[in-house]
Symmetry: C2
């Protein structure tokens, strides 16, 4: 298992398309930055095949400190949720199901 970074994708896309590395880098960086902006504004991002990002509100709750047993109020807070898209699901989740069935 490897970790792939922005730089790896920029190099690869520049090679595949023949576009200048600097331009590809600028596009990818803006894309990621604009996604953060839109989520910050409460908008939902939907990329067909890839998936959906959205900000959800987690309700306030009472939690207990396991050491002191003290109860604390945890305020409502926002969280970002990624929901996997159709193609990604077929390729990643679907594949593991197929392997599972094949190994029976």
């Amino acid at each position: 298992m490897s970790t792939i970074t922005k730089k790896d994708f920029v190099d690869r896309i520049s090679e595949k398309t023949g576009q200048k590395r600097g331009e590809v880098k600028e596009t990818i960086q803006l894309f990621l930055d604009e996604m953060i902006d839109e989520l910050t504004n409460g908008n939902r991002l939907e990329f067909r095949d890839f998936g959906v990002f959205e900000v959800r509100e987690r309700a306030a709750r009472i939690a207990q400190n396991p050491k002191t047993l003290e109860q604390v109020q945890v305020p409502a807070r926002k969280a970002v949720r990624f929901k996997i898209g159709r193609l990604m699901r077929e390729r990643i989740v679907g594949e593991s199901l197929t392997q599972e069935l094949a190994s029976r």
Copy 2:
């Protein structure tokens, strides 16, 4: 709340950078496609400030059909996890905490 799509980002990035719309579209599409490929291969994607995508194995478990009370074996399956990055967390989660404190 609006839904923002790939097309919206392509238009916006093309306007901001002066790059040709077709080239921006090609880069964004390849970026999303390559992310799916890398996750399918079991690799981890790490984008500073934005977040990390990784494939995790969910363990096999026994589930119960709530209507028939029949127990069924749910096989292990893969799931994609998105872990929010530092900047996105500060801007989205941090903001909601600040609002929470300000409203007390």
